[in-house]
Each structure stands twice: as C-alpha cells, then as structure tokens.
C-alpha cells in the first residue's frame, strides 16, 4: 500500500508536466487546427529562460543588492519567464505559422518541426553542449508520511500546475478573448468574432501556450535540475499524444490525458521492468484511441490535411 501511494505521488508530479505541455499543444491544435511541433522545444526554451532569470536573480541576491528569499526568486522567475517565453511563442507564430495560414496544415507542421530544431541548435550554439544545473531556489524538505516520502517541492509543483490549469480554464470560460477562442475552435469560419481579429487570437493562443510551457519548464528545473537542449523532444512528442488523447478543444481533456500519461508511465514501471514502459504505455494509449477515436472529450470531426 505504501508502495502504491509512493508511486501515486511520483505520478502526480510527473503527470503535471505532461498536462501543462499538453495544454499548450491542445490550445493551438483546437483553435488553429495546427500541430505545433515546436512546442516541446518552447518548453525547453522556457526552462532555459527560467534558468537564466533564476541564476541572475540568485546572483543579484547574493551580491546583497536585492536580498530576496528563495521562494520569492522562484515566483519572480516564473512570472518573468512566462512573460519572456510568451514572446518566443508569438515570434514562432509570426514567423512559422502566420505565413502558412492558408497553406496545407501539414506544411505548418513541418515549419514547426524545423523551428524546433533551430531552437535546439540555437541553444547549443549559445550555451554549448554542457548540461546546466538549475539553481536550487528552495530548500528541499522531505516529509515521511507513514512510509510515503513527500517533498515540499512535489507538493508545490502539483499545486502550482493545477492552479495554472484552473486559471486557464477560467480564462477560456469567462473572458471575451476566451470566448472568441472557443468560438474559433468550434468553427474557423465564424471569425472575426466579437470584434477580435483572428491574428490576435492566434498570437494570444501561442503566447498563453508558451507561458504555460515556461511554467512547466521551470517546475521541471526545480524537480529535475539538469537541463539539456534536447529535453523538449521526447517530452514534447509524448505531450502531443496526450493532447490528442484528451480530445480536441478540451482543456479538461488535455489535463486529464496529461496526468493519465504520467500515471501510466510510472505505474507500468512500478509493475513491469522499466524497459517495457514505453511499449506498454503506448499500447494502452493505442487501445484507448481504438475505442475512443476522438479522445476523452473530443467531438467527432472530419478535418483533414488540406492540400
């Protein structure tokens, strides 16, 4: 039982990264009907921006110029990095996607893929192949709850990511922009809506998705403090699977599917030899897709790759 709960805790943390990245995918996918294959790398960029900001703030703090406690640095890092990374997202949209609005969707997927490669390479050129270590901003405290070990970091990561997901949900449900997004997801043709031009919505979608990816990146840095330029690839593609699994246009779906992905991976590794993890995890996902072709919350639709 202890064993089970320990893995449950592990899975919650692992799943929250998938969920947050899947959300970014899902938003772009449902609103613009595009695969944003650069998203995994935006997550990576977010983590590195977070690393830069955090290192800077730590240095600033150490110099005594602006003595900040660790948690304060973390909050500032998250906010600043969200802001900066959202610009990266908007640039990606402007350069890679807007010129291709009327092109086949697959072509936009290719640009995304290429932008991703450029982001990885750019990082390598700037920082070199050496891994960087995310500065430890908060003291790790381990609690032993009846044999189950929980750290303050884990609790913080799960809570922070859940609250961002909730915030996004409220934004999409309650605000004018959110409503425009939903309308656009429903039917691409009914734009411009509510007096909001389509480009604004596209840009906003990318900005929000990227900001969330930045949060995920920083939390990832807190939990797994070794960053490398290719960290976004595998993560990104798996989150992409989760996004589709959630169903088109569903924030709830993407969140749930992200967590499910984390749970499947952790629990498969718990029961079977961990080398079988991907094999079994993806077989389960394949089966889910066979029986629920439109994901958990998706509606049947018949969009095709326009040629």
């Amino acid at each position: 039982m202890v064993f089970f709960f320990q893995n449950l805790i592990n899975a919650l943390q692992w799943g929250s990264f998938y969920a947050m990245i899947a959300l970014g995918y899902s938003m772009v996918y449902s609103i613009l009907m595009l695969f944003n294959f650069a998203h995994g790398d935006i997550f990576m960029v977010g983590a590195y921006i977070g690393f830069g900001v955090a290192t800077g703030l730590v240095a600033l703090s150490a110099s005594g110029f602006l003595a900040l406690p660790g948690w304060m640095i973390l909050v500032l890092t998250i906010l600043l990095s969200m802001f900066l990374t959202s610009f990266v997202g908007m640039i990606v949209e402007r350069v890679g996607y807007r010129p291709l609005r009327d092109a086949p969707r697959a072509s936009a997927a290719i640009t995304g893929l290429m932008i991703g490669i450029m982001l990885e390479t750019g990082n390598l050129i700037l920082l070199g192949a050496r891994r960087v270590s995310f500065p430890p901003l908060i003291e790790s405290v381990t609690y032993n709850v009846g044999g189950v070990f929980v750290t303050n970091k884990k609790i913080m990561i799960v809570l922070v990511s859940l609250s961002f997901m909730l915030a996004l949900h409220l934004f999409v449900q309650k605000t004018r922009y959110g409503m425009a997004m939903r309308a656009m997801a429903f039917d691409y043709v009914v734009v411009p809506l509510l007096g909001i031009p389509i480009n604004t919505i596209a840009r906003l979608t990318f900005a929000i998705g990227s900001a969330l990816a930045a949060v995920a990146g920083i939390l990832f840095g807190v939990a797994y403090p070794v960053l490398d330029p290719y960290m976004g690839i595998v993560f990104g593609w798996k989150a992409f699977v989760a996004a589709i699994l959630g169903g088109r246009g569903s924030i709830m779906g993407a969140t749930l599917a992200g967590f499910l992905m984390g749970f499947i991976e952790i629990f498969v590794a718990m029961v079977f030899p961990s080398t079988l993890r991907d094999l079994i995890a993806y077989s389960i996902i394949l089966l889910i897709l066979v029986f629920r072709p439109h994901g958990f919350f998706g509606e049947p639709y018949s969009a095709r790759l326009r040629l």
Binding site: T111, I115, M118, I125, H294
Partner: protein, 435 residues
C-alpha cells in the same frame, strides 16, 4: 555552385529546365553522355590535375567541403570543377546535341524498356565511375538512394493519400531488423546468432529475399495501424502512427535476441552500390507505376473528396489500406538496405530525428510527385553532406531553408507533377524548351 551542382548526373532529371538557351534542346541522353565523359576525365586525370593546381586531393562533393573548410583552396577547387566538370559536360552536351537527339529518337522507336535501360545504364556508369574516387562518395550515394526510397514511399501516404503518418521510421526499423536477422542468421557468424545456417556463397543471391522479408514485416506492422486508423478520419492516423513508432522502438529495445538497445551489427556486406541503385530504381519504377494507374490515382480521389470517391465506385478503405501497406513495404526495404549499408543498426536510429529527416525531405521536395521526392531526398542528403564542415550551424541553415520553402511553396518545390519516363527521355527539338 548552383550551376555546377545541376550538372551532377544524379540530379539531372529534376533540374534541367533552367539552363540558358544555348543549352536548350539537349536531351537527357546528351547530359548523361557529358557527365560520363566528365567522370571518366576525373578518374584518369583527377589526381595529376590535383597535384598541378595544389589541392591535396580530389574535391569529393564538388568542392563544397573544401570551400567551407579551407577557403584558401577555393581557387584550386574552382579550377578543378571548371576543368573536370563544367567545361567537359557543357562541351560534350552541346557539341553532341544533334547526335544525342538522333540517338534518343532512334531509341524511342524500340519498346520503352530499351531506352529506359540505356539511360539507366549510362546514369549508373557515370555514378559508378564518379564514386570510384573515394569510399566516402560511395557511402553518400548509397545513403542518398535509401533516402530516395524512404521519401518516395512516405510521399505515397503524406502526399498522394494526404494523411499525416509519423510511423515511417518504425516501418524502416521493422524492415532493417527483419532483413538483418535474415542475413545475419543465415549467412554470417555472429555473437548473437552463432554460425551461419546456409553456405555464405548463397548470401548475395538470397539478399533480395531478406529485403522483401523485411518489407513484408513492415507492411504487417502497417496493417496493425491501418485497421483502426482508417475507420475514422481526421488527424487520427498522425497520432496512432506516432504511438506505433514509439511502440516499435521500445519493442526492439526489449528484444534481447536482436541486441536490445545496443543494436545489431555484423550484417554481411551485401549492399554494394549497384544493389542499392537497382533497388532504388525498382522502387521508383513500381511506385511511379502505381501512382499513375487509375487504381493508384484513387488515392488522390480519396484525399481530395472521400465521399465523392466512394460514390464513384472507389473502394476507399481498401485503397487506403493497400497504399499504406505498400508504402510501409518500401520503407521496410529501404530500412533493410540502410542496415546493410551501415552494417550496424540500433533502435535509437529509428526515432523522432529520423522522422523529422524524412518528413523534411518529403515536404521540401514536393507532395504528390515522384520528381519532388527524388529532388527532396537528393538535395537534402547532398546538402547535409556539403554543409558538414559548418558542424552545428548546419542545423540552423537547413531548417531555415525548409521554412522558407514552406512559406513560399507550401506544397514543396515540385509538387503535383507526374513523372513520365517517356517524356523525360524524348529527343528535343530546338523550339521545345520544356522538360
């Protein structure tokens, strides 16, 4: 540089159109003869010439590597290219214009197979002599031919059928391992499988069987995806095929008898240049036959409007399944060749990176087009090699190039063009500039 690359024999078919009016009206045959003369010149005069103009060896990839690595050698490389390639090709092609036109005309009077084989023979001759200069050229060419097969077969799914499949590296892996197990088990003494089961002398003759075996395994894999995927529509295939790719990779990692994650080596050296060339030609020929038949064009009908296709008696589901398995078969054969070219494979080879590479070649070259796939595979493989001295910056330049192509030609460089062998080989009159 552009111009010089254009005269490269294997690129000839795609990029003839743009030359100046002096060179219009020269049939493909003429260019092939020119290329043949050039490579023979290089073969016999290359080394003495290199000594004379102060290069340390024959520029392997038309000097691209030299230019980027040692700028001081640019003049030497330029002289070499001019003397060995540009001038001979131009002179032979231009001077032999009427001769080659007449010859091409004569050839066309025979059944189509005759001129085709003559052209292919000349092309192979040029490539063979060209590649004799260094083992590096041979390797580059082999990988390029494998890339052509992969790109073309993926184009069948992503271009002709208009679905987005991500499982091509998975099919490749199935083919690579299928064929490798076949040859290693039967013909090679190896750590994993022990002594060969059949006499080694039989190996090269049964190698095609091994490749086809690999291809069939790949198409069985495709069947697994196809059954659930083609019941519904939308972006379903993209995601299922991606999951399939991960599953295949993970499955091979868990199969200890093929070496698990550490890979499988010891493939016998069967994939020599002529073998790879013949398979690539076969692949192009069969796929081109297919996509030009009404049965194959049903793919376009399914892509452009499935309901209408159905109402016009097209069995849409069967069409999609057949095409998917067909494409997977060729990916498998290409994978088998790939494994025997490198003589080592591991599951890591067939991951997301390979996927990005093949997708890039398909969309760069052009959708729904055999020309496009050949162009995409050849140009990106050669570009990848030529830019190698730039090291990491290569991975800025190539993606950037692709993004630009996508922005200005969203369906790729040469999309929606039929590849008609007859037209390619036809003699040309002066007034007719068209390819």
């Amino acid at each position: 540089m552009e111009e010089i690359n254009d005269t490269h024999p294997s690129k000839k078919k795609g990029a003839l159109g743009g030359l100046t009016s002096v060179f219009s009206g020269i049939p493909v045959l003429g260019w092939l003869l020119g290329a043949l003369v050039a490579v023979i010149l290089e073969h016999y005069l290359g080394d003495p010439l290199v000594d004379r103009i102060g290069l340390d060896k024959i520029p392997v990839l038309f000097g691209a590597v030299i230019i980027l690595k040692k700028p001081l050698m640019i003049p030497g490389a330029a002289v070499f290219l001019l003397l060995i390639y540009v001038i001979p090709i131009a002179v032979v092609a231009r001077a032999g214009k009427s001769f080659s036109n007449r010859l091409a005309g004569k050839l066309m009077e025979f059944p189509i197979a005759v001129p085709t084989l003559v052209h292919l023979g000349l092309l192979y001759g040029a490539i063979h002599i060209w590649s004799d200069v260094s083992a590096y050229r041979v390797l580059t060419l082999k990988l390029m031919f494998v890339a052509i097969m992969l790109t073309l077969s993926l184009n069948v799914i992503n271009g002709y059928m208009g679905e987005f499949s991500c499982s091509h590296p998975g099919f490749m892996a199935l083919g690579a391992y299928g064929a490798s197990v076949f040859t290693v088990l039967l013909f090679s003494s190896d750590r994993l499988f022990g002594d060969p089961l059949l006499p080694e002398a039989l190996g090269p003759f049964l190698f095609p069987v091994g490749l086809i075996f690999g291809g069939l395994i790949a198409s069985l894999g495709a069947l697994v995806i196809a059954i659930p995927s083609f019941r519904t529509r939308g972006d379903y295939l993209a995601i299922i095929s991606l999951a399939f790719l991960f599953i295949v990779k993970s499955m091979i990692e868990n199969l200890e008898f093929v070496g698990g994650p550490r890979g499988l080596s010891g493939q016998p050296n069967y994939a020599n240049l002529p073998t790879v060339f013949i398979w690539a030609v076969l692949c192009v020929w069969i796929i081109n036959n297919f996509v030009r038949s009404t049965l194959g064009k049903a793919l376009n009908a399914v892509r452009d409007d499935e309901v209408a296709a159905d109402a016009m008696t097209v069995n849409t589901r069967r069409t999609k399944m057949v095409a998917f398995m067909f494409a997977a078969f060729w990916a498998g054969v290409a994978g088998g060749l790939y494994a025997h070219v490198l003589r080592y494979v591991n599951p890591g080879t067939f991951g997301i990176q390979k996927l990005a590479e093949v997708l890039a070649m398909v969309y760069f070259g052009g959708l729904n087009s055999v020309y496009g796939s050949i162009t995409g595979a050849v140009s990106l493989s050669l570009l990848g090699e030529a830019l190698r001295p730039l090291e990491i910056f290569k991975w800025i330049i190539i993606p950037l190039l692709l993004i630009l192509v996508m922005i200005f030609r969203p369906t790729g460089l040469i999309a929606f063009r039929e590849f008609d062998v007859r037209k390619v080989m036809q003699p040309k009159s002066n007034s007719d500039d068209e390819v």
